[in-house]
């Protein structure tokens, strides 16, 4: 039994450990994608054979605040050598924060076999696993994607507005406690970017995203996660929406709730606080009185 098996996850098939990746470096049915916040980490050394995927350049629409469309997704996947039946393994910096974001976008297009390497880049490096600075290239894949389906796992502003008035729903703010309380929107003496007001969406509970991981960047066990979220009313019987600042940290929580705890109805509000906190007429709550 691997360490992952002992953690009791609802969908353990979405996680692989570093040993699994090390054993599949040359597997033509596996594509390893590194997704980082730090755009130059990959260039300093990456898992041999891994390809860099950039959330800005590859996954975002260059003009509209939205994700890439079907045609661009098909081209992106094919250019990486990914076909519809490829096992895509994501990993990255910051506890896989950006890896789960990339996986979430792949799921908007219904990619079947997308997984996360537990522990991410930090664990791979800490274990002394091999790294390479070579940029790999692969034969083009063959990819036919459906139109992007936002309905199941993505929430929009007006849906959130309805959501907070309903019973049987839950809203989780995964930003830092200081952002949640309204104490912090920016650093002193630095021009603030993106948020007019501090606070949180009414009814949201605060569970910072990184509480789901351990010090070695691997995910906590299902029992620990169930306690973490359940103790604040984020339970499987509810329709759950997670948000942060632009939807990246909350993709991590979406991943945890959906796959590790097996909650059936979880969406990520990627408009998040940069949209809600700036919108005219939308209510907020603010606990910080400073």
């Amino acid at each position: 039994m691997s360490n992952l098996d002992s953690k009791g996850y609802a969908h353990p098939e979405v996680l692989v450990d570093t040993a699994w990746v090390a054993a599949h470096l040359n597997d033509p049915k596996v594509c390893i994608l590194e997704s980082n916040e730090d755009i130059l980490l990959y260039d300093q050394g990456h898992i041999p054979g891994a390809i860099k995927i950039d959330w800005v350049g590859d996954l975002n629409d260059p003009v509209v605040r939205d994700y890439l469309d079907r045609e661009r997704f098909e081209e992106l996947a094919a250019s990486f050598g990914i076909s519809n039946d490829t096992t895509v393994v994501f990993y990255g910096d910051k506890n896989n924060w950006w890896a789960t974001y990339a996986l979430w976008v792949f799921k908007l297009f219904g990619h079947q076999d997308a997984r996360i390497m537990d522990g991410g880049r930090a664990k791979w490096i800490a274990e002394g696993q091999p790294v390479s600075r070579e940029i790999p290239s692969y034969p083009r894949g063959s990819y036919q994607a459906p139109e992007r389906n936002d309905a199941a796992i993505r929430a929009f502003r007006d849906e959130v507005r309805q959501h907070i008035t309903k019973v049987g729903t839950a809203l989780v703010d995964v930003r830092s406690p200081q952002e949640y309380s309204g104490e912090r929107t920016h650093m002193p003496e630095y021009p603030q970017e993106g948020t007019l007001r501090g606070g949180h969406i009414p009814t949201a509970v605060s569970i910072p995203w990184a509480k789901a991981v351990q010090t070695d960047s691997t995910f906590k066990s299902k029992a620990e996660l169930a306690e973490l979220y359940g103790s604040q009313g984020i339970t499987a019987d509810k329709d759950v929406i997670a948000y942060c600042r632009i939807g990246e940290r909350s993709s991590h929580t979406w991943f945890v709730l959906t796959y590790l705890l097996g909650y059936p109805n979880v969406r990520n509000y990627d408009g998040s606080w940069t949209e809600w906190g700036n919108s005219v007429g939308l209510p907020i709550e603010k606990s910080y009185q400073g």
């Binding site: 730090d38 755009i39 130059l40 980490l41 260039d43 830092s176 912090r184 650093m187 630095y190």
Partner: protein, 150 residues
């Protein structure tokens, strides 16, 4: 005006950024100093503090240094900027804009991370503004080398 065309291809720009990240220039506090300004990105953990010392005649950047932590681009940019502006007239730096800073680093490489690329630049801008405010024309010069005032 300093030219900002680096003439570097993408890979060379990456190598330069990595070199400055791994071997930062002008890193550490400056003493004496005229202005110290912290800057940062709360959401991604990039922090840069700029130390600015102005020439005795109050017209030029005498020296800047920085301290910080964060992503490769934000820290390498601080190092590259610290070399680039040494001795630059304040008036010239005040004409230097964010787009020029991105070009200095390599638009192909850092263009998708403008906030990281310009963190040190914006912090230095704030430092210069603060210097101008604290030492307006007509006041005695802080005369670098005699004191710190921040």
């Amino acid at each position: 005006m300093h030219g900002v065309y680096t003439g570097l291809d993408r890979q060379s720009a990456i190598e330069r950024l990595l070199d400055h990240y791994q071997n930062p220039r002008n890193r550490g506090p400056l003493d004496p100093v005229d202005v110290v300004v912290p800057g940062g990105q709360p959401d991604c953990g990039d922090l840069v503090t700029i130390y600015l010392r102005v020439s005795a005649d109050r017209t030029r950047i005498d020296t800047i240094s920085f301290e910080g932590q964060g992503c490769t681009v934000s820290q390498a940019a601080a190092s590259i900027l610290s070399e680039y502006v040494q001795g630059m007239p304040l008036a010239e730096f005040e004409q230097f804009d964010q787009q020029s800073m991105i070009d200095l680093l390599g638009r192909d490489v850092v263009g998708s991370r403008p906030r990281c690329a310009t963190l040190a630049f914006n912090t230095l801008k704030t430092a210069v503004i603060k210097y101008r405010r604290e030492w307006p024309d007509g006041m005695a010069s802080p005369n670098a080398g005699t004191h710190g005032n921040d």
